[in-house]
């Protein structure tokens, strides 16, 4: 196994730029010396509540925010010291599914242009893209008839499927998911979780999920990285972390997680069987 993504002591934050104040640079540090490695073919979840810096980690991985110090290695190459065309080449191997399906689709664009955009940007001609669009729509379970609709006509679950189709159309090797289910209904959430896992199994991608929901993470990851105020407090396989949490914070996350009470057989924290 080779590491596909590595963060080395990444410290990152945001500059506050406003009017003349930009002359005085103020930086708010969000991530402090974060290091972790993701192996090829792994499913990793980064857990944190709002304000823990999980979105900032995403931005750093996706090449949108240059860390103040530290390195981001993707395929062993330092993302932020590459010339921009090579960086783009690497970023094209990452498929990204953003958080809010209601704000992530251009409301005036037809679905086929949204889904086909990554290939268009890579310089593929439209007549070849059309066929590939049909393939990915079949994979994510959307009818072909929506190709000429705009996003406003779709429900939340369908929007999320469109975003997943867009993320996998260029056959990425890394799939980055930002809260893939938080805006969806329970039954749709379950559908999306199952869809993502079947994509993982079919295409052998590396999957990185960012979420605040341990229950969702347990289905979408084999390894958990738990983040609190910009620092990693715990790291380990799902079974380990859930059975025997080391840090107090993780323990509190697990005990405060909502369970269906009153049905005793489901209530004990036991790892039984192997999930699909």
């Amino acid at each position: 196994m080779s590491s596909i993504l590595e963060l080395q002591k990444v410290t990152a934050g945001y500059k506050s730029v406003k009017g003349f104040k930009s002359l005085i640079k103020r930086v708010e540090i969000v991530l402090r010396e974060i290091s972790f490695t993701v192996e090829k073919g792994e499913r990793v979840a980064i857990i944190g509540e709002s304000g823990s810096g999980k979105t900032t980690i995403l931005r750093v991985i996706l090449g949108l925010l240059k860390p103040i110090s530290g390195k981001v290695l993707i395929y062993g190459k330092d993302l932020y010291s590459l010339p921009s065309d090579q960086r783009l080449q690497i970023l094209r191997r990452i498929g990204y599914v953003p958080q809010d399906p209601y704000k992530s689709l251009n409301p005036v664009l037809k679905i086929k242009y949204i889904v086909g955009e990554p290939l268009e940007a890579a310089g593929v001609e439209w007549r070849y893209i059309g066929e590939r669009i049909r393939e990915v729509l079949k994979i994510v379970g959307l009818p072909q008839s929506i190709l000429n609709d705009t996003a406003e006509e779709l429900s939340g679950g369908m929007r999320q499927r469109v975003l997943i189709a867009r993320a996998i159309i260029a056959e990425p090797e890394i799939l980055v998911l930002d809260e893939p289910t938080s805006a969806l209904d329970v039954s749709i959430q379950a559908q999306i979780i199952n869809l993502l896992n079947s994509i993982y199994n079919t295409f052998k991608v590396t999957m990185i999920t960012v979420t605040h929901d341990l229950g969702v993470a347990q289905y979408l990851a084999d390894r958990l990285i738990i983040l609190k105020s910009g620092k990693i407090v715990e790291e380990g396989s799902v079974d380990e972390v859930l059975r025997d949490p080391k840090s107090e914070y993780t323990k509190s996350l697990i005990t405060s997680y909502l369970r269906i009470t009153g049905i005793n057989s489901l209530n004990n924290i036991k790892i039984r069987g192997q999930y699909v």
Binding site: S50, A190, G215, L258, I260
Partner: protein
């Protein structure tokens, strides 16, 4: 037992922009909530649960049409197409909105929030409202220090507690909470729900919680109703419904909830919750139901099941439709 809420055959619909058709969000629902109950309306988006809760809270928008009757503590609040919530809204029934961050005014301190509400509902002056506020904040586990704070200085969980405290301070007998946990982080949800449960037990407040999450239902509520496409498809005591779900839709919802530490496959049914425009008498789950039979084109009646009392379900297969 006094009934806190009694709805008989209530329908609520939204008029389309051009007044051409009405989208019925709630369709001929009968429901009774006893005083002191913690009642939960479970359903996915488009099921009409929020509309129904808004009707009980008396905050229906003006472009809504209603049918049927709604009584709140034996007072007729909705009588066919006329509504009268005077003396009920804010005084008897209080409402906790979904998103605490956008429900508090960023320009007012917490104390002023209390004052504005209590002045309008109970005619309190500043002194009296401050006292009531401190009392209510203690009940929800906050100290008096937050009175001088502005909403943005509080965390999401604290904002939610402040909203609950405001509802408490106005001496409401019924608290309607719309998705109280969906906008806050997973690890804060349990404490907010436990707080609501405590209020219900210790102060005899009737709770009506609207949610799509069966797990949060099980923590607070003693009774629940599952809504689908504007209709109640299953209702009963929480334990009896969750242990022994009868309707295929309830079963599916239970199969879809991730349980921490338990590796069971999630089993959603294909398709999405339907949103009904026409008011047809048809089983709303027919399209997705794996066990649909011919009779399902007609609307099944709400009938009791099993030996559990007050457990009702709306399904032909379970309540003696035709044999298979």
């Amino acid at each position: 037992m006094v009934l806190a809420v009694r709805a008989s055959g209530i329908s609520i619909g939204y008029i389309d922009e051009e007044e051409e058709y009405i989208v019925w969000a709630v369709r001929r629902v009968d429901l009774a909530i006893e005083e002191g109950d913690a009642f939960c309306l479970v359903g996915e988006s488009g099921s009409g649960k929020t509309t129904f809760a808004n009707a009980i809270a008396g905050i229906l928008p003006p472009h809504v049409v209603t049918r049927g009757k709604l009584y709140i503590f034996d007072r007729l609040a909705i009588d066919e197409s006329t509504w009268n919530f005077n003396g009920l809204r804010g005084r008897v029934v209080s409402y906790i909105p979904q998103n605490p961050g956008t429900s508090l005014s960023p320009f007012l301190t917490i104390e002023e929030h209390f004052y504005h509400v209590l002045r309008d509902t109970l005619r309190y002056d500043r002194e009296k409202s401050r006292k009531a506020a401190i009392e209510a904040l203690l009940k929800v586990g906050l100290d008096r220090g937050v009175l001088e704070d502005y909403p943005h200085e509080l965390s999401g969980g604290m904002q939610q507690r402040v909203l609950i405290a405001i509802a408490l301070a106005s001496n409401a007998k019924i608290i309607v909470a719309d998705e109280p946990t969906s906008a806050i982080d997973a690890n804060l949800r349990a404490s907010v729900l436990q707080l609501l449960g405590k209020l219900n037990r210790e102060y005899r407040v009737t709770l009506l919680i609207v949610t799509h999450d069966l797990a949060s239902t099980s923590i607070v509520c003693n009774r629940l109703a599952v809504m689908l496409a504007g209709k109640i498809v299953e209702t009963g005591r929480t334990i009896s419904v969750l242990r022994n779900p009868q309707h295929p839709y309830t079963k599916m919802l239970l199969d879809c909830v991730p349980l921490l530490g338990v590796k069971k496959p999630l089993k959603p049914l294909p398709g999405e919750p339907i949103q009904v425009v026409e008011d047809k008498a048809i089983c709303p789950f027919r399209e997705r139901c794996p066990r649909a039979i011919d009779k399902c084109v007609e609307e099944p009646p709400l009938k009791p099941v099993g030996d559990e009392e007050s457990h009702y379900v709306k399904c032909w297969r379970l309540t003696g439709g035709e044999s298979e």
